[in-house]
């Protein structure tokens, strides 16, 4: 499952770096955080993808890494007390995360892009859940989903 998410993350970095302003990497990091729930791989991926996105966008290198680190840290903190394996959480977290990301890095049309990204997040989350609950992969984490 981690390999598949890593593949999605790589594709998201490439697409967001060259073609689309949609914060796809943020969505992938959200899924990785929900599935993995471990600090080291999540923070490492947030750090590396942030560096790459800054390189693609000619921003000072490190800015996006800091944002992604803070985002994933907040999600990990939140999951201590509340359930995060739910569409509601994915919708709200992806919307707020996208809104903050787009406004901090001066993208246009932040509200419409954030709304669209949140919708996309829910659709892909359904796909990730389907993948994750497949018998081949489910035994790896034993994760339970909120219905």
């Amino acid at each position: 499952m981690f390999v598949i998410l890593l593949l999605f993350l790589t594709i998201a970095v490439i697409l967001q770096g060259a073609i689309t302003p949609l914060p796809l990497v943020l969505l992938c990091l959200l899924y990785v955080t929900i599935i993995m729930r471990q600090g080291i791989p999540v923070f490492f991926l947030a750090f590396v993808t942030g560096l790459l996105l800054d390189t693609f966008a000619l921003r000072p290198i490190g800015e996006t890494s800091i944002f992604f680190l803070l985002f994933t840290f907040l999600v990990l903190l939140y999951q201590r007390k509340y359930e995060i394996n739910s569409y509601q959480f994915v919708l709200v977290a992806s919307f707020l995360g996208s809104l903050l990301y787009l406004s901090i890095f001066n993208y246009p049309d932040i509200w419409s892009i954030s709304g669209f990204n949140a919708l996309l997040a829910c659709i892909f989350f359904a796909f990730v859940r389907l993948l994750h609950s497949s018998p081949l992969l489910h035994h790896q984490t034993g994760l339970h989903y909120k219905q």
Binding site: G17, I19, G39, L51, I61, G62, S65, R80
Partner: protein
């Protein structure tokens, strides 16, 4: 709290690395990272942008039409130059241009990213063209990449004139579909389908737009007798989504 405590030191460690990179290691890291990502960015952009090679008959006709407009604009310039020679014994000469080709690796509504940077002597303020059509100016550079602020960017503003009627105005924009020649005095004549070219506003440092670069064609004229100025909407001759190579005018 147990898990929060266990992730906090790891979070702090990565945050520390990010801050070190942000404040101390920009230059050493930018070059190798860009050397790694530029080919990938270029490939991805080319894979997802429309293929310029496959042209419909309409595209070919449009291309031919654009070339004819370009030749017409040049002829008009030559005519007015000849007139100046005959009337005032003045001579004009276009400064020689060194053109640096660069590939497009990213495009948005108001900016473009290219695969040439500081190592290729690209500087902020240099003008970017495609076949004598002005595209924009270099606004940001890094070792291997540069950002072009397109003429469709709201911050862009430069003087231009029409070829037929010699009306002078200021080109402004609010997006690619909303470029206009503004602040044209009412006494000047603006005609539909007239070509708009840069007037030339190079300063003593060599910065600014050279003259006679094509901006576009007048699509419509907005003239209100009660106002001080008139304006014309301009349509560019370029479809930037199909442009894969641009040329930077070196100073």
């Amino acid at each position: 709290m147990q898990r929060a405590k266990s992730v906090f030191p790891i979070f702090l460690l990565f945050l520390f690395f990010s801050l070190i990179i942000l404040f101390l290691l920009q230059s050493p890291l930018t070059r190798p990272l860009q050397a790694l990502t530029v080919p990938l960015q270029k490939w991805t952009y080319n894979a997802f942008s429309p293929t310029p090679g496959i042209a419909t008959p309409q595209d070919m006709l449009q291309e031919e039409n654009n070339n004819l407009h370009l030749q017409l604009a040049k002829m008009k310039e030559i005519e007015s130059d000849n007139k100046a020679l005959r009337d005032q014994l003045a001579t004009t000469s276009l400064p020689p241009r060194n053109l640096l080709p660069a590939s497009v690796v990213g495009l948005s509504d108001s900016t473009m990213v290219i695969d040439k940077g500081e190592v290729d002597q690209v500087k902020v303020g240099q003008i970017v063209v495609v076949k004598d059509n002005v595209v924009g100016t270099i606004s940001k550079t890094s070792p291997h990449l540069s950002v072009i602020t397109l003429i469709s960017n709201p911050i862009t503003s430069f003087t231009a004139k029409t070829t037929k009627t010699n009306a002078i105005g200021v080109v402004k924009a609010q997006g690619m579909d909303n470029i206009y020649l503004d602040s044209v005095v009412l006494s000047d004549k603006l005609e539909k389908d007239d070509m708009v070219i840069t007037k030339g506003d190079i300063n003593e440092k060599g910065e600014g737009y050279p003259p006679d670069l094509i901006v576009g064609k007048i699509q419509s004229v907005n003239k209100v007798d009660s106002s001080l100025f008139q304006q014309a909407r301009i349509r560019t001759l370029l479809d930037l989504s199909k442009v894969r190579m641009i040329f930077i005018i070196k100073r």
